[in-house]
């Protein structure tokens, strides 16, 4: 075990705490008994194969679909079942997987709406700052969002959420429509840059390697439940993980944390299943 694991397993104070959480469509649970934490300034990735329930979990956390049980705390306050707009006011910035920009509006208008809760001078200042951070957006500013390419769309969606400077970013498969290079750039460059400002990031990714490379902590989700919780680097180093995504479970690694690590690698609240 690399010595760095000790540092990475000492997690910062929890910003978001999800406990024994169950959610789904109608009355049918898709995800159940979920325990997860996102610490202050952490990038946390939820990875797992298609159809594991990752997006459903995120939607329930941000109040797009109602929860069926359990609790969510944000900075210690109980926020279970608050509506999305309330959660946004409390500092969550959510980028959905699809329908992530206002199709009929321009890039500039998208960003202005992102800053809806701000006073006008403040919004202008932030917009200028974001455009400095993402200079590629500048020439697109007057374009209708519908005409953007997949990568540009996602950037606009993230930029829009940045307008409110949320303390927690919730990103649902930000790379799903992007090429390998763009996906890599988005995660290493942009997501890292967001984290460097001190915000926490909760990231769902199906394509896990690049996500794990930028994350501090990771949860592996399979069939609606968290099956592993460990430092991202440890998950990344595990040879069997890549194969898990293609459905092949290497003997011995299905129930135990990778590399035979000690209890450090899993959270007490979220035991490996």
């Amino acid at each position: 075990m690399p010595t760095s694991s000790v540092e990475s397993t000492q997690r910062p104070a929890a910003h978001l705490e999800v406990r024994d959480f169950t959610a789904g469509y109608g009355r049918i649970p898709i995800v159940s008994s979920i325990n997860l934490d996102v610490g202050e300034g952490e990038v946390v990735a939820i990875v797992g194969p298609n159809g594991a329930g990752k997006s459903t979990l995120l939607k329930a956390i941000v109040g797009v679909i109602p929860s069926l049980g359990g609790s969510i705390r944000l900075r210690g306050d109980i926020v279970t079942n608050l509506s999305t707009d309330d959660l946004v006011r409390r500092g969550i910035g959510y980028v959905p997987q699809s329908h992530d920009v206002f199709d009929t509006l321009t890039v500039e208008e998208n960003m202005r709406i992102g800053g809806y809760l701000l006073a006008k001078p403040e919004a202008e200042a932030r917009m200028a700052r974001i455009l400095d951070t993402f200079p590629t957006l500048r020439p697109l500013i007057r374009r209708i969002a519908h005409k953007l390419s997949g990568g540009e769309r996602k950037l606009v969606a993230i930029a829009r959420v940045m307008m409110l400077q949320p303390s927690l970013y919730v990103l649902d498969e930000p790379t799903s429509n992007l090429s390998v290079e763009l996906a890599h750039k988005l995660l290493t460059d942009y997501v890292r840059r967001i984290a460097s400002t001190g915000a926490a990031v909760l990231l769902v990714e199906q394509k896990a390697k690049a996500a794990l490379e930028v994350s501090n902590w990771a949860y592996l989700m399979v069939a609606g439940a968290i099956s592993m919780s460990s430092p991202a680097a440890m998950l990344l180093a595990d040879e069997s993980i890549a194969h898990r995504f293609l459905g092949k479970v290497t003997a011995g690694s299905s129930s135990a944390p990778p590399g035979g690590t000690g209890p450090d690698s899993t959270l007490p609240e979220a035991p490996a299943v």
Binding site: I28, P49, N50, G51, Q97, D103, H146, K147, L148, S149, G150, E152, R153, E173, T175, S176, N177, L178, S179, V180, A183, H184, E205, Q206, K207, A208, K209, A210, A223, A242, H243, F245, L246, G247, K248
Partner: protein
Amino acid sequence: MAASLVGSNPKILSLNSVASATGLRTATVLQAQDIWRDFGGVIAVAGATINVPRGRITGLIGPNGAGKSTLVNIISGAIKPRSGVITFEGVDITAEAAHRIAHRGLVRTFQLSSEFGRLTVLENLLVAAPHQVGESLIGAVLGKRYWQNQEAALVHQARELLIRFGMSAKEEEYAENLSGGQRRLVEIMRALMAKPKLLLLDEPLAGVNPSLGQEILGYLEALRDDGLTMLMIEHDLAAVERVCNPVIVMAQGKVLAQGTLNDLRNQQEVLDAYFIG
């Protein structure tokens, strides 16, 4: 059939005419060649080419947003490609309307359940049968005496399917009152009533509990052994591993690789598509 082939590649023409003349059937049921399609600025399918071999279940897998569903929608005629050619049983169907394509025996199921809610389960099956004499105005007005024999045969067939899929008890239930898994079964049975030559399954296990999922896979295997060709999008790779051969991997709107799932697992680019993106 020969007429519609005029102007296409002469080699293909001769092959197909030999095949049709001798009653032999080519090994490929469906060919989609260099298909492109975009929505706004987002390219969904970028030059995908696939061949579906006869008598097998071909799996179509890939990460979210790879263009699988769009490709199936294009093949079934629900949306039109920007460019590319689709050939079914040697006939170019690229420009045909969805119902004409279905008429040729290319039948699909939908990712979101698409049952006829206010029809009973049995009626959902009956309505799918092709060439019903009672479905024309004249046939309907001539009355039962005209179409009842065919109808009785269809009811018999449908009930056999219901027995085979363990759904007899639900025969008189309105489809809108079924559970998600039962709706899936209805959709598959309904597609079978349409006498498909090729069945396109768009995530047949989505929203189905694991034990019913295993059951459905069993049904699909039995259908394959009866000679039905299928093309199946599925996320559950254990399911793909169990029933699909070959498996086609799509990513970024393109076909990355084709082979058995075990072969694919060891190809770096497939791993990358899933793992790195």
